[in-house]
Amino acid sequence: MTAVLETTHLGKRYGRRWALSDCSLEIPPGHVVGLVGPNGAGKTTLLHLSVGLLSPTSGGILVLGDRPAHGAAQLARVGFLGQETPLYRGLSVADHLRFGAWLNPSWDRELAERRVDRLGLDLGQRAGDLSGGQRAQLALTLAIAKRPELLILDEPVASLDPLARREFLQHLMESVAEHELSVVLSSHLVSDLERVCDYLIVLVSSRVQVAGEIESLVASHHRLSGPRRDLGTLPESQEVIEAHHTDRQTTLIVRTDEPILDPRWTVEQIGLEDLVLAYMGRAAPSTGMRPAVMRVQP
């Protein structure tokens, strides 16, 4: 099957600054993909590149097997919900539904009306007067009723309060289940993604640190703790993601697909959040993000 998103050495430069560089990815279809990374990591750039709002400076990108925004047909296959969910402030909710219907041949009117009805949105209300949560829900309605194959959401819940956040993600998951969408969703909060995603990409400093199905990522990462020791003595199959030493003890987060046999280690499962933080810490040694983690003493 065609990958929903496939990039090869993708890069985007603004002036002299690379917002994204050498990004190679292949996301299989049928997943809800969480794109996580600190602010400024290049998440928005990557998502804008995939919906064709930006064009790459270098490398290539294919979305559902075609160039992003390559003609009306390709535009129709990808739904997008941007950061701050821009809407026409002066136009009413009903106007927005008409906007969706007029600009999308595949518009599912019944679905849109059902959703707006369920959300309790007043059709006559101006978008500018809606609450943040309502705006996000209306924008999600526009993106879903377009009936895309792939839905891309850029920090959709960043500006929402916890209740609106939960409701939004719940609606998103229902739609995903109902319409068998592939979804790529960015956030800097792992807890949001943990609830809805089954595939994870960690993007730090414009580079992809790790990508894969969450289940197998969690299964292959372990926290090892034991007496202090040299990292050079570890088996080759164990990739050290994070190392933390005290005078007596060494704590590691390692990635391995093989069982850990060394009896000196106490092996623990790690949560998604710790896993993500470990990759973020590894990728950003110079930013001082987690200096305590990074100090590796020989």
């Binding site: 064009s55 003609g71 535009l75 941007g82 809407l87 026409y88 008409r98 969706g100 377009k146």
Partner: protein
Amino acid sequence: MTRFAWREFRTQAIVAACAVVISAAILGITGANLAHLYDTTVANCKVNSDCSSAISVFLSTDNQLRTALDILIVVLPGFLGVFWGAPLIAREFETGTHRLAWTQSVTRARWLLVKVGVAGGCSLLVTGLISLMVTWWFSPVDRVNMNAFASFEQRDIVPIGYAAFAFALGVVSGVVLRRTLPAMATTLAGFVLVRLVVAELVRPNLAAPLHATVPNTTLASLVSIGSSHSSLSPSDLTPGQGALPPNAWLISDQTINSAGRVIGENGFVGGGITLIPGVGGHGLTIQGAGTCPGINVPPLPSGALIEKCIDRFHIRDVLTYQPGSHYWPFQWGELAIFLVLSLILIGLSLWFVQRRAA
């Protein structure tokens, strides 16, 4: 997309439609009165053999409305360019709604062209209708004035070209600058600049002008002892009145001497005519031509003497002008220039929107 473009533009379109209807009502009533006044006074003034007073009464009617209409038709195209053209795309960038629009199933090119088509089309239509009404309203006045080129920019079809250009300039400014206010300011400045360049440098050269050599009749009464007086031109340059044919557009007026050398322009002669007082003085001197030795001051020379002096040096004026018959070719020519400029600007906007990052 077309329906959405209409929905976005609905408020402006309704306001504009109301303004056009109100203007039509006002101009319809007052214009009919003006036409009636013309028919009853100026048109048959020869019967009463008092045309000058009939014309002066007619020309002083509805003065305020005339001024208002003159301003309206001058300002309207630029106004629409600034308030409709510039925000059309710039506002989308400012509010981020371009990201919403560009991720629907419509290409950016189509999005831009439809928006431009709807709002720009309205802009041209409104300007065209207002210009049509103003032209009709002024028609008796223009018939009396016989000076078609004096109101060239305010009549007939050229305002449509200006409207197209102002709108397209607004759109491209918005696309490039992405901010409404700077785009509006740029539109206004660019529009005024291009209009001036075309009016001053392009329009006079749209067709080869005609020339006429006419006698110079300086008003001798203006000459006073001991002073300089520089005016030296045909007595009346109003088209249809003296030296110029009706509806002609005077481009230059050069005063030449017997040798054919240019000694002055537009009635002004270098150092002018100088009268030097004192017995045995130089008398009457025309700079660039010479001195008439027979005239001594004082006493103050009579007008006839001064004219004789002018005749002696065979001083004439060469008038360069565009005849009234060039009016319509010039209207079409200038319309074409501005329409072509508009198309170029829209093409540029299209190029920018397609390649520009969001």
